[in-house]
Amino acid sequence: MRLILELILPALLIVCALAVTFSKRLLVSVVIYTSFSIIMSVIWVLLESPDLAITEAAVGAGVSGLLLIYTLKKIHALKGTSDE
């Protein structure tokens, strides 16, 4: 089980990174980037670094995502959502 996770999670990271690169909408990129951070925090748990897991979950998935989304709002890139 653990071995499968250890192999799948890095692969998922790469998939996420590619998806961020090639998605056309900025909102999609940002959402995928946030999930990238969540996968990262699971990996930190697997690597026995709980400190990093907490920090990554709070910062990467929380604050960075928030800042990115607000930037998108400011640059009017949230097309197709009710927020525009």
Binding site: P10, A17, V20, S29, L47, E48, L68
Partner: protein, 124 residues
């Protein structure tokens, strides 16, 4: 090849580093450049932390009275990564703020267009 599979975290980290690096260099969209920078930094941290991991050992939080170095993983990478994460979130916030200001001025986040518009303004 086998070595790469055993060191799969490092391999993935190198690939991610490449993706982030090329994003930072080649993307025209500034927001994606910033995300690329984030990916690049996370890749470096993944690399560092996976080098600190040792199979079968515990997280560096003491259990019991006596500490034996053979029971715990290396705490140094975790500390360094913690510092690094703070640095990268600061840089992200700074660059996003800069992007907002550029958008206010040029109404676009495409860097090539911004450079071109700035050049036109400079000529006038």
């Amino acid at each position: 090849m086998e070595h790469l599979l055993i060191n799969h975290y490092e391999t993935a980290a190198v690939i991610l580093f490449g993706i982030g690096f090329l994003n930072l260099l080649l993307q025209n969209n500034l927001v994606k450049k910033v995300i690329g920078f984030g990916i690049m930094d996370s890749a470096v941290y993944l690399f560092l932390a996976s080098q600190g991991y040792i199979v079968g050992r515990l997280a560096p939080i003491l259990v019991g009275e006596v500490a034996n170095a053979a029971d715990y993983i290396n705490p140094i990478p975790a500390g360094l990564v913690l510092t690094g994460i703070v640095v990268s979130v600061s840089v992200t916030a700074f660059s996003l703020a800069l992007i907002q200001r550029l958008y206010q001025k040029y109404k676009t986040v495409n860097f090539d267009e911004i450079v071109q518009l700035a050049r036109q303004k400079g000529d006038e």
